[in-house]
């Protein structure tokens, strides 16, 4: 319910009481906007829902609200909605820009000053969410139906143990075309030699060499940057370490450029012979 001026002896209706209760519980009547909007006095105590695919603003002016008034704001649309100081002052400890599905509240300190608090916001930079984890078995792992909700993907595989001395490779979107450019360096630690990695192939050659069998102390990680974009190729970076293989202790630091512009929704990790065990975690990174 918008802010009211009640009078002595006034009888409230059931609808008014329901609306008041809703407002008291943090909801309140909502007005949907599809374009930039300037708040009016009647918005006090209500919820303004912005729903626009384009960027919008909600402007705050003076002499419309009293100290203690609040306006709840929801950005439902894909366009960023920015709370903008018109003639009033708007302060915040965070951001005045609200991405899709973010919510916040304007609290008026006076008729000319308000504080904006975001109740929800996107995860900050570096936030990692475990979106798939489990144990390896058989000859491959397919991670399918990966949503585009994150900035990067980060796959970690630990304690890899193989029945055959083979390498481990990965593909995106089940694509086995010659679309992967691997480049980096592999270092044999026990008898130091460094080998440049530089090849165009049908997969990401995560191990570059064969693992020894019966050794659990091997790890791989693969990070894919901006995996959900559908307009350019994808850059990835991978590291691997093996305590024992045909060449002794081994470490790899390399990158991959995947040419196709399709968003990545699937990652496969496989070996060319035998079976493997180990554990995997796929993180979505913001």
């Amino acid at each position: 319910m918008a802010k009211q001026t009640f009078t002595v002896g006034q009888v409230l209706t059931a609808d008014q009481m329901t609306s008041l209760q809703q407002t008291a519980m943090g909801g309140g009547s909502a007005t949907a906007k599809t374009a930039s909007y300037t708040l009016v006095a009647a918005d006090a105590g209500t919820t303004v829902i912005m729903n626009s695919a384009s960027s919008t603003t909600i402007t705050v002016n003076t002499s419309l609200f009293a100290a203690g008034d609040t306006v709840f704001i929801v950005n439902q649309g894909a366009g960023v909605c920015t709370i903008t100081a018109g003639t009033a002052t708007v302060s915040t400890a965070g951001s005045l820009a609200m991405s899709q599905n973010e919510t916040g509240e304007l609290y008026f300190l006076s008729t000319s000053a308000a504080i904006f608090s975001e109740y929800t916001q996107s995860a900050g930079t570096g936030g990692m969410t475990d979106i798939a984890s489990g144990s390896l078995s058989g000859s491959a792992l397919s991670l399918t139906s990966i949503s585009g909700s994150y900035k990067d993907l980060f796959l970690v595989i630990r304690d890899i143990n193989l029945t055959n001395a083979v390498g481990v490779s990965a593909t995106f979107n089940n694509d086995t075309g010659s679309n992967y450019l691997n480049a980096g360096i592999a270092t044999q630690v026990s008898s130091p030699t460094r080998t440049a990695i530089g090849s165009q192939g049908t997969n990401i050659d995560l191990s570059q060499t064969s693992f020894a069998t019966g050794d659990n102390n091997n790890s791989l990680q693969l990070r894919v940057f901006d995996y959900a974009n559908a307009t350019s190729g994808k850059l990835g970076r991978y590291q691997a370490g093996f305590t024992s293989n045909a060449n002794g202790k081994y470490a790899i630091d390399a990158g991959v450029y995947y040419y196709p512009t399709t968003a990545i929704t699937r990652i496969d990790v496989s070996i060319s012979a035998g079976t493997f065990t180990g554990t995997y975690v796929l993180y979505g990174v913001n």
């Binding site: 979106i131 798939a132 489990g134 144990s135 390896l136 078995s137 058989g138 000859s139 491959a140 792992l141 397919s142 991670l143 399918t144 139906s145 990966i146 949503s147 083979v166 390498g167 490779s169 086995t176 192939g201 049908t202 997969n203 060499t209 064969s210 496989s270 060319s272 012979a273 796929l282």
Partner: protein, 70 residues
């Protein structure tokens, strides 16, 4: 031959048989891997042989050659 299929959206994890295409790809990968490994070993052997020939021509021991190349 089986693999783990993990649907990230639903969280469903199941063990499934490799498709015919995946089995064929696995065979191709095995051949490519064996060839790459053989090529790598051959290149390493040729390099070692060439190094030894140069060392012999210069009259250097392996230790002296290692110091020069370090």
């Amino acid at each position: 031959m089986k693999k783990i299929e993990h649907n990230v959206e639903t969280g469903e994890v199941k063990e499934v048989e490799l498709t015919a295409e995946e089995v064929a790809q696995r065979a191709k990968d095995a051949i490519a891997y064996a060839k790459a490994k053989a090529d790598e070993e051959q290149a390493a052997a040729e390099k070692a042989e060439a190094k030894a020939a140069i060392a012999e021509r210069l009259g250097l021991t392996d230790a002296e050659l290692a110091i020069l190349l370090a």
